[in-house]
């Protein structure tokens, strides 16, 4: 019961909603439509993507395939070209070296149609060009050069193509008499057809017109310009052998079909002959013999399996031209057609009409480039490199000789003899003073930061010292200041003059040098303001020294050369710095504090005085920069 009530309850509710319908809002369909469009768009995108992938894959595959094919193709072509070259060179070599003399026949090829027991009064040339042509074709297929093997007799068989022009040219149908070896000649097809008068030589007797025509074509297929034997003999061209056995079934006696049959078909020839015996029949086979005019042929008789005899003849054909293309003789080679016919590509460059705007733009660009180059040049021009310069300078400083020393073995002995002790030498050697120099220098930049400079300077060094000796003239009228030389030199103490001791008096000693410095400098700062460190050596050339006493009663003394106690040439070490400022394009003002130190004593060795006066000065130089 309760279950039924429950079921009624559920059924009532179910029934209440059976026909219940409520309309949704109007824009709900729009929303649904948008969703559908979005979903379709995604589908389309996916499809499009799929097609794109397919297209890309196809293109990639095609490119790969093309690449592989190109690679393979180019390899083949390369091989073909190299093989062709090898072939030509081989042929040329062979022709050049061998100078083909004969065409030999292989023993199992070819047959000579010969009347039985008929003496072969003319040499004949036989070869199976068919087989040779096969070989040629095979060789071509394999891209191999022709095999030019010498035969047993040392003669080389010439390869001939199936449709060789030479072969055609060499054809000749020879007329043969059936009884006594009469020759048969068919000059043209019409002649062949018309040749009915001579029953003995009428090979088309009792043949249908079609057969006749066919045979005539066959005859002619061996050569277009078939000539008579006489003409051929005159031209020296051999004849070709034509086998017409198949077409002459009737009225032939002792006809034997060649074991190889004929190659009479639509294909061009070649010749296999059969041994035909001519009887008394009016018909006989049209036989063409390969003949030439040369003699000395070799004949061989070969017995075949069916007991037929086959005559093989080797004949010299005459010399062949070394040019395989144009053989002087029997055969003419013709060039093999290219395996791959490359299409001729003609490049044609279409002249386009010039767009004036583009022309103008091009001109503008060109002008801009030119201007840019000029700017660069100008910039380079304006850029100061200071490669070469010259300078004039003036320096002032002091000289310090406190490190000098005087040896005890000096000339003080003279004074000792004089009874006076003179400190002149000591004072003079130790005198300090001032130094002035002026000069001209030249410098150049050897590297980015290295310079080398040299010059010529005049140096004047003045020092004062206390002297206590004078040099008196012999009559004691004149007195002059005594120098170190006077003190040390006994010459001064001669009868003409003598050294006299006095009270101290002041003497100014002035030394004059010419200095030739050579310095190297390293540029530390290279701008408008520059800083440089210099070092070098100078050669100091002594000019003179002047002793000027302050006492007016004494005369001054100027000493040069041997009179002076100073070394004539001295070397000094130089060290200094340079601070400079560039103004303008060509000028630089420099301040050069420096130091000069004589490497050797400035006094001569005999003086007993060792002095290396140190000069410290500051120079101001005005530099002119050339470039």
């Amino acid at each position: 019961m309760k279950d039924m009530e429950r079921e009624n309850f559920e059924n009532e509710w179910k029934n209440a909603f059976e026909q219940a319908e409520i309309s949704p809002s109007d824009n709900l369909w729009t929303s649904i439509e948008l969703e559908l469009e979005r979903a379709e768009g995604k589908k389309m995108k996916r499809k499009l993507l799929h097609y794109k992938f397919m297209a890309a894959a196809s293109i990639t595959f095609a490119l790969c395939f093309a690449g592989v094919g190109f690679y393979y193709f180019s390899n083949e072509r390369r091989n073909y070209s190299s093989d062709q070259l090898a072939l030509q060179s081989t042929v040329k070599n062979e022709l050049n070296t061998s100078a083909l003399q004969s065409i030999s026949e292989r023993s199992n090829e070819g047959q000579l149609l010969q009347k039985k027991n008929e003496p072969l009064n003319q040499s004949s040339q036989v070869f199976d060009a068919d087989k040779r042509a096969d070989e040629t074709d095979r060789a071509e297929e394999n891209h191999l050069p022709f095999e030019l093997k010498p035969n047993d007799d040392g003669k080389i068989s010439l390869p001939v193509r199936r449709n060789s022009v030479g072969l055609k040219a060499a054809h000749q149908i020879q007329k043969r008499k059936p009884h006594d070896g009469e020759e048969f000649i068919a000059e043209t097809r019409d002649e062949i057809l018309k040749d009915k008068t001579n029953t003995e030589s009428n090979i088309f007797q009792n043949e249908s017109q079609t057969e006749k025509y066919t045979k005539a074509n066959i005859l002619l297929s061996r050569g277009d310009n078939v000539k008579s034997t006489k003409e051929l003999r005159a031209s020296g061209k051999p004849a070709a052998i034509v086998d017409l056995d198949k077409h002459f079934k009737d009225n032939l006696e002792n006809k034997e079909i060649s074991e190889q049959g004929t190659n009479i078909s639509n294909e061009p020839p070649v010749m296999i002959t059969s041994k035909l015996q001519y009887g008394t029949s009016s018909k006989d086979a049209a036989v063409a013999l390969m003949r030439d005019n040369s003699s000395g042929s070799d004949h061989q008789t070969q017995t075949l399996t069916d007991n037929r005899e086959r005559l093989v003849t080797k004949v010299p054909v005459g010399k062949l031209s070394t040019d395989p293309k144009n053989l002087d003789g029997n055969f003419t080679f013709r060039e093999l057609p290219p395996l791959i016919e490359t299409p001729k590509v003609e490049l044609s460059i279409q002249k386009k009409e010039e767009d004036p705007f583009k022309v103008m733009m091009a001109r503008l660009e060109k002008r801009e480039a030119e201007l840019a180059k000029e700017d660069v040049k100008e910039l380079r021009k304006n850029t100061i490199v200071e490669k070469l310069w010259t300078s004039v300078g003036f320096a002032a400083g002091n000289v310090n000789s406190s490190n000098s020393s005087v040896s005890s073995s000096s000339g003080n002995n003279t004074m000792a003899r004089a009874g006076n002790t003179s400190n002149t030498a000591i004072n003079q050697s130790r005198a300090s003073g001032t130094s002035y120099s002026a000069g001209l220098n030249v410098g150049t930049k050897v590297a980015k930061r290295w310079v080398v400079q040299g010059g010529l300077n005049y140096i004047s060094q003045t020092s004062a010292y206390q002297s206590d000796a004078v040099v008196a003239s012999p009559n004691l009228d004149n007195f002059r200041a005594a120098s170190l030389t006077d003190v040390n030199n006994t010459k001064s103490n001669t009868k003409a003059s003598k050294l006299v001791g006095t009270s101290n008096y002041r003497v100014n000693n002035n030394l004059q040098y010419v200095s030739v410095p050579l310095q190297a400098g390293y540029i530390i700062v290279n701008h408008t303001f520059a800083f440089q460190v210099n070092g070098g050596i100078s050669t100091d050339l002594f000019i003179q020294n002047t002793l000027t006493p302050e006492n007016s009663n004494l005369e001054k003394v100027t000493q040069r050369g041997d009179e002076s106690s100073y070394r004539p040439v001295n070397f000094s070490g130089l060290f200094g710095t340079e601070i400079s400022y560039r103004f303008g394009k060509h000028y630089r003002l420099a301040l050069n504090p420096g130091l000069r130190y004589p490497i050797n004593s400035i006094y001569k060795a005999g003086t007993g005085v060792v002095a290396n006066p140190v000069t410290m000065d500051v120079a101001m130089r005005f530099r002119y920069i050339f470039n």
Binding site: E5, R6, N8, F9, E10, E12, W13, K14, N15, A16, F17, A20, E21, I22, S23, P24, S25, L28, W29, S31, I32, E33, E35, L36, A39, E40
Partner: protein, 185 residues
């Protein structure tokens, strides 16, 4: 007027007119179904929109073994359950205590279905789902338990509770009408 088969074919081809026609034919009925499974009209429309998109995208899979409205209803149920599954997770259904169902038999004849929809929507989530599945769709408790991942006992108790609540509401409605003398709708 197109037959259902023609409509389906048109919809499968993506013919917008066919789709519109199909929508017009079934949207009102399905809206009612969606209202039963939702708490508001807006939610119901969302469910309906989602359902029809699914219908048009998958109509080619409809084998026409059953009626189309039944098939759409099944889609609505599944969609509603998927939507409400989170809420069902948040509000797990448990066995309720024994519920006393009023003895008075109440009839639904005087109650408009819109009111019934409101009553269903006022039910708790679990009760609403179970009630719809059992009473309206005809699922068994066993099937409901498998569908919702609850025990069969929970399904039964949830339904009983839903029923009790609905009857209580119906009682109120009827007594209201009796008190104020207004005719039943």
């Amino acid at each position: 007027m197109l037959t259902e088969k023609e409509l389906i074919e048109g919809c499968c081809k993506g013919n917008r007119a066919s789709q519109k026609a199909l929508y017009d034919r079934y949207c009102r009925k399905m809206m009612t179904v969606c209202l039963r499974y939702s708490k508001s009209t807006a939610e119901a429309e969302d469910i309906l929109q989602e359902v029809f998109v699914k219908v048009f995208n998958n109509l080619k899979d409809f084998r026409q073994e059953a009626r189309l409205d039944t098939w759409i209803t099944r889609i609505i149920v599944n969609t509603a359950l998927n939507t409400r599954r989170k809420k069902l997770y948040l509000y797990p259904m448990v066995d309720v205590d024994t519920i006393s169902i009023p003895d008075q038999e109440l009839s639904l004849s005087g109650v408009h279905f819109t009111q019934l929809v409101e009553m269903i929507q006022s039910l708790p989530h679990g009760c609403q789902v179970v009630f719809n599945l059992f009473a309206m769709e005809g699922y068994s408790h066993k099937e409901i338990s498998e569908l919702l991942g609850i025990s069969e006992g929970t399904s039964k108790s949830q339904f009983a509770r839903a029923k009790s609540l609905l009857q209580t509401k119906l009682l109120k409605e009827s007594s209201f009408y009796e008190r104020y003398g207004e005719g039943k709708l």
